[in-house]
């Protein structure tokens, strides 16, 4: 696993996000504030006990859409740098699923940019998660509710 630096703004990886050294991403001496967001696998979602999560990614489009989002943040907010990495594969409770960083001279911009990136990534990047539960079939999150469940009515 190599640290992604330079022009890469968005990354997908099947490797753990723990213990990475991101210092180079904001080594710019003008940087006064660095805001990060880590999304981790929770042990519950709504009323269900979650045991693990599978992330599936449409890689080509996820990379272009993710990069576009980070570039939008760089254009919208007065920040020095921004970056996002998302996991794919099977994750356990507590594992880091996504990491976002925004750095700026003044902290307000880094907070806004970091929040913008995670909000947009969740809404727009083609990544799906299948939640596994205790004693229930796993489901693809956000797909279950919009499915028409026609099988349930067939008798």
């Amino acid at each position: 696993m190599s640290l992604t630096i330079g022009n890469t703004k968005f990354e997908i990886t099947d490797q753990s996000l723990e213990n990475r050294n991101y210092r180079e991403l904001f080594a710019d001496p003008r940087v006064g504030g660095v805001v990060t967001f880590e999304g981790r696998v929770r042990n519950h979602n709504e009323d269900k006990d979650v045991t693990s999560l599978e992330y599936e990614v449409y890689p080509e489009l996820a990379l272009t859409e993710g990069k576009k989002i980070v570039e939008e943040a760089l254009a919208k907010f007065d920040i020095n740098n921004a970056y996002c990495v998302h996991r794919e594969g099977h994750l356990q409770i507590g594992d880091m699923a996504v990491w976002v960083m925004a750095s700026s001279e003044h902290r307000e911009n880094a907070f806004l940019a970091c929040q913008y990136i995670i909000d947009e990534v969740k809404a727009r990047v083609p990544i799906w998660k299948k939640e596994h539960y205790v004693g229930q079939e796993p489901i693809w999150v956000r797909c279950d509710k919009c499915a028409s469940h026609r099988h349930h009515g067939e008798h």
Binding site: W128, W140, C146
Partner: protein, 80 residues
């Protein structure tokens, strides 16, 4: 008839039981193509909840399909 390279992800991959296939179709748009696949694989997500990518770019459901296009139907995303 045109040839379309389908890729299936997540919810649709589970239903289609495959991650890609080549389909021969008379569908002129993703909208028509989805109706065909819905019958074939019991795809039960409302089209209003979906997005579609053609050749790895988001497109509308009434984009004209071209022979050899790669098409992906995108169920509601849930990253993060």
């Amino acid at each position: 008839m045109k040839t379309i390279n389908m890729s299936y992800f997540a919810f649709f991959r589970d239903l289609a039981k495959k991650s890609s296939e080549v389909v021969s179709t008379q569908a002129g748009t993703p909208k028509e193509l989805y109706q065909e696949l819905k019958l074939k694989y019991d795809f039960n997500l409302c089209p209003s909840k979906l997005k579609v990518a053609i050749n790895d770019e988001f497109k509308t459901f009434d984009t004209v399909l071209t022979d050899g296009d790669k098409v992906v139907f995108i169920p509601p995303v849930a990253g993060g």
